[in-house]
Every structure is written in C-alpha cells, then in structure tokens.
C-alpha cells in the first residue's frame, strides 16, 4: 500500500495550486458578494483544462484520471467553493454521462466544446417534486417523427444559468416510475427553454442554481443518451461519479477553512499567549485535521477505484457523506477559533461555513448516502 501521490499527480497539484493562489483566491470574496464567477475566470479554467481533466484527449479533454480531477476540484474549492462546484457539476454530471453512455457521434459532437469550457454543462434531474426520489420525474417527452418533444420543469440546476449543454431526464409514462425515464442531451439555448429564476442562496453564491420550464422543447432523436427507458441507470451512474466531485469540493472547503484557523490560532493572543497554546484550541485543531485526512483518504480511494474500473458505489457514498460532514464541522470550528472575527465577512471563514452546508445536501442528501451504504452492507 502506498499513500503517496505519484510525481505526476504532485506536478498537477502544484500547478493547480499556483493557479488558484493567483487567479481565484484574490477574487473569492467578490465572487460570493456579486453572486457571479467572472466569465474571464471560467475561460481561464477552461484554458487550464480544469473542465475536461479526466476526459480523453481525442475528445478535447486532458486525458488525466479521476484522481487528478479530484485534486483539481479540491484545490479550487480551498479558495472558492462556487468555482469548485462549477467544475464538478460540469464534468461529472454532464461530460461524464455523455462520455459513458454516448455514441461515438455524440461524444464527437458535444464533448470538445465542453472539455475546453466553450460551453458549460449541467444535469437536469431534480424537479420540484423529484429530488432524492428520481423515479418521481414528472417532466415528460413524446416522440414526433425525428424529434422528441419535452415538457415540464426542473429546479436547483447547478450551472443552469450558463444555458450551455444539459443532460436531461424525462419520463415517457409517469406510471412506469423509473422504468419510463430516458436521458437526452439538450442545447439549452433552444426555443422552448425558459429560465424561471436563478436562486438566491445561503452559500456557493457564485454558482448558478437555476429553475427551468420546458415548453415543447424539441430535441432531435439522435440526442437520446443511452437506451430509451434506461435513463434512471444513466442518472444513478452519473450521481455515483458525481459524489467524488462533491466530496472533493467539501474536502477543499474544509482544508481552506482549516488553513485559516491554524494560522489565526498562532497569531491571535489572549491572556499573554497565542490561543494555539490553549488545549481547548489544540484539541479542536486535532479533531479538524483528523477529519480532513480521513475524508481525503476516502475521496482519493473512491477516485482510484473508479480509475481502476472497480465498483466504487459504496466508497463514493462514504466519501461524499464523510467529506461533507467534515466540511460543515471544520468550517464551524474555524469560525469558533476566530471568535468574533470569524463572524465578520472579511475573515472568509463565514463564507466557507455557508458554502459547506450544501455539500451535505446535493448529489444525494447524506440521508440517501446512508441508505446506499447500509443497503450494500446488508444485501
């Protein structure tokens, strides 16, 4: 067993870190305040290859592996959770399923623009009445000649506001539950697509969370992703991989908050000594760091399993659950260590605390992760 990153992964980590330090960290607070990741940053991340890390070179990706992808999302999220989830949702939830389930023609058509960041991808599964219960999808499709016609609505769509490329789930017959669901690749600039609103959120404010209405959205039949009626499988497989991305995002948020808390504890003096001299603070730091390291091992392991083409369903559920709970715990403690200053926007840990919470909720709530883990244990 070897727990060291390879030299290639270290080169990547250091390159991403340098980029984040200079290009993202200085504007992370502005991204939160203005509820917007500047287009220039999205372009730069595309040029760096952050938006196609593990997709093959023949489709315009960087051709690296899942572990590299996890490192990219982690390093970016240390500075900015919004930018981290942009990469994660784009790659895992849109490019990922197109690569896994798409035909050669679909991959050639859609992936190059996604991998370079020319278009931003999203995953249209969640609806007002269907989230954790994907079988309850109420958006419907019918076939008319060479086209599918989609009607319904979607909500909480990460990256939706970019109106790029989407992987959309819709049902042929709602009474069939999950067996009636199919997946489609959609161009969100098409007629029939309306943005109802971009949500105003507690955290990851720079990231779009969009509600859509679809009114006779016409999709050519060649955009069916995977087999008709097998959309539920596409969704489940996609979420499995996506959990590694969210775990990496949560891990990065936790690490970003920890770095600040550790540094602050050494600077802040009370009763004539640095507060890091007090055991109450020391124990907090020990608990925070242990939880971070545990999350990192779980997350990297899930990524390595996916790279090795082994089953990683349980591991991705565990890393997502543990890393997200680590993120909320560590960011909360980071504020506590900062005392009153932690509650002030300028110290940034309050943003990280707000950013952390969603990681316990999206891409399968942690309650759903526990269902996944326990089902596999008992099956």
């Amino acid at each position: 067993m070897n727990f060291e990153l390879s030299q290639d992964h270290k080169v990547l980590q250091s390159a991403v870190r340098d980029f984040v330090e200079k290009e993202i960290k200085p504007i992370a607070m502005k991204i939160d305040e203005e509820h917007m990741i500047p287009d220039a940053l999205v372009t730069k991340m595309g040029e760096m290859g952050f938006l196609g890390s593990y997709l093959p070179e023949e489709y315009g990706g960087a051709g690296l592996d899942m572990l590299s992808y996890a490192i990219v999302v982690e390093e970016v999220s240390k500075a900015c959770g919004s930018s981290g989830v942009l990469i994660s949702a784009h790659t895992s939830l849109c490019s990922g399923p197109i690569y896994t389930f798409g035909t050669e023609a679909q991959k050639k058509k859609w992936l190059p623009a996604l991998n370079t960041g020319e278009t931003i991808g999203c995953f249209l599964l969640t609806e007002p009445d269907a989230g954790s219960d994907a079988g309850g999808t109420a958006t419907t499709y019918t076939r008319e000649g060479d086209e599918f016609v989609i009607n319904g609505s979607k909500t909480f769509i990460t990256n939706g506001g970019y109106l790029g490329t989407g992987v959309l789930l819709a049902s042929y017959d709602r009474s069939l539950k999950h067996k009636g669901i199919s997946a489609f690749i959609v161009d969100l600039k098409s007629p029939g697509v309306t943005i109802l609103k971009n949500e105003n959120k507690m955290g990851i404010r720079g990231s779009y969370t969009t509600a859509f209405a679809f009114d006779n959205l016409r999709v050519p039949v060649e955009n069916l992703l995977g087999q008709e009626g097998k959309g539920f499988n596409v969704a489940m497989d996609t979420l499995n991989g996506g959990r590694i991305g969210i775990a990496s995002q949560a891990l990065g948020i936790a690490e970003g908050a920890f770095e600040r808390a550790l540094a602050y504890s050494k600077e802040r003096k009370q009763f004539g000594q640095a507060i890091s001299e007090f055991q109450a603070i020391q124990f907090k730091l020990a608990d925070m760091f242990t939880s971070i390291e545990t999350s990192k091992l779980l997350t990297y392991r899930a990524a390595c399993l996916k790279d090795a083409k082994k089953n990683y369903t349980m591991e991705s559920a565990m890393c997502k659950m543990h890393a997200s709970e680590t993120a909320t715990f560590v960011t909360k403690e980071a504020i506590q260590i900062h005392g009153g200053y932690g509650f002030i926007v300028d110290y940034e840990v309050e943003r990280m605390y707000r950013d952390a919470k969603i990681t316990e909720i999206y891409e399968g709530t942690n309650e759903v992760q526990r269902v996944v883990i326990s089902k596999l244990l008992l099956s």
């Binding site: 290639d8 270290k10 080169v11 390159a15 040029e47 290859g49 960087a62 690296l64 590299s68 990219v72």
Partner: protein
C-alpha cells in the same frame, strides 16, 4: 537550433529551515520543494523562443539532484520543453558551484547547444555562479540578470538590469548563455493537457558519476540560523519624553533625521 535550460529544485522559502546532522546544509525532512523562481523565468523564455523558432528547434531541460527533482523537470516539460536530462545525484548539496557547473559543461560538450538559459541564482544557495561558470568553461558568450530577451540570426539581444533601475542592452553571438532575472516574463501555468503530454516526453537519466570530473574548490563548513537578537527597545515615560527619546534614537541609529 538546440536550446538548453538548466533548472534547480529548491525548498519552499517559507519553510522553517533546520540544519542537517552535520550542520553544513539544511535538513530536507518535511520540506516542500518547487522549481527555483529564477529558473521559471529561464524556462518560460526558452519555451517562448522554442515556439517562435518552431520546427527544427529542440529544447532540453536539465536538472541535477535526487529523484524528487523529476517533479521540477516534469513541470518544465509541461511548460513546453521537448525532452529532459536528469543527472542523478543524491549528494548534490555537498557540491560547490564549480562542480555543479563542471557537471553541466561535461554534459553539454560535443552536443552543439546554441543557447543556454539559467536562472540568475538559486533561491537556497544564492551563489549566482553556476550559469557564468558554465559559460566560462564552455567558452560561450554570457550575460547575466537579463530582464528582456530577443533572438535573431545568431544574435541574442538582452536587456539587463543595472543598479538604480538603469537598463543596459547587450548583444551576444551564439553560442551563448544568459541568466534570467525577475521581470523578464510571466511564467505560464502548466495546463492539464500539457501535463498529460509531458508524461510522454523523454527524460534521460544519467548517474552523476558519469559526468563528475572536477574537484570541490569551496567547502561549506556551517549552516546555521542567525543569532537571536534581543527584543525591541520599550520606551517609557510621558509623551514629550517619548518623542525626545525616539528623535534621539532616529538621529543616532538611522539617516532619516540628519
């Protein structure tokens, strides 16, 4: 045209340095390493020239050290170097600038390099001798601390930084060597696709014993942190007195109140 860029991997300068067991260099345990900053300017300039000259030009990156220096080599490859030479040496820190330069010169001899780029100095040893010594040993034209670079028809035009912000321009015929200073360029980030491409580029490993012929001329005998200074002076008294004391100190110890 054949280009060479020589790089060194150095510890992160924000690290806490402790002397090694022999007390002659720093202890490497727990240190994070990265490419020497000035060498990044050298790599960037070499890659820019490589891109400008296009096909038919070959850019090699060279580094001496233990296995960990391959990380710096891979970064240079991801920035755009074509191939690499890793001179394997686990005792590189015990060598003086003369020996390091000799190793590089021995490697370069007979390989028809036209132009060599180095950083102006390393961030850890800071001798600023290796580049100029290599040039001397090889009989190359050389200029140092360049902040501007151009090349055309066998002539390098280098802008140099002199004291007080004054600039000078130097022209050199190849074969030549330049040492690169902060301000020359902004090194590019290695992109993910280029990190992937770098994995396929050739890294030739050469044991240092095959190239080491020179003896040590200067031995480092001690490595130690500066002696701890006493704390600052704490002045006491009423404001008028304090001001007088501060003025007296400023007049006595500094040039600000003459």
């Amino acid at each position: 045209m054949k280009l060479l860029v020589c790089i060194k991997q150095v510890p992160d300068l924000e690290s806490r340095f402790k002397p090694d067991a022999a007390g002659v260099w720093y202890n490497e345990t727990d240190l994070a390493f990265r490419m020497n900053e000035y060498d990044e300017y050298a790599v960037e300039q070499a890659v820019q020239l490589r891109e400008k000259l296009g096909e038919g030009t070959e850019l090699t990156v060279l580094s001496i050290g233990p296995d960990r220096v391959v990380e710096a080599i891979k970064k240079a490859l991801a920035m755009g170097c074509d191939n690499a030479v890793h001179i394997q040496d686990t005792a590189v820190s015990a060598k003086d600038p003369w020996q390091i330069a000799s190793i590089i010169s021995t490697y370069v001899q007979g390989k028809n390099f036209d132009l060599i780029f180095t950083g102006m100095q390393s961030q850890d040893r800071g001798s600023a001798q290796v580049g100029v010594t290599v040039a001397e040993q090889l009989g190359f034209a050389c200029t140092t601390t360049i902040v501007g670079f151009d090349y055309a028809d066998g002539t390098v035009t280098a802008k140099r930084e002199l004291e007080g912000g004054i600039k000078g321009v130097v022209k050199l015929k190849t074969p030549a060597l330049v040492t690169c200073q902060l301000g020359l360029n902004v090194p590019r980030y290695p992109t993910l696709p280029n990190i992937m491409k770098a994995k396929r580029k050739e890294i030739t490993a050469i044991p240092v014993a095959d190239l080491l012929t020179a003896d040590l001329l200067a031995t480092t005998t001690s490595f130690h942190p500066p002696a701890k200074k006493g704390g600052g002076i704490v002045l006491e008294g009423d404001v008028g007195e304090l001001v007088d004391k501060v003025i007296a100190i400023l007049k006595d110890k500094t040039a600000v109140l003459r």
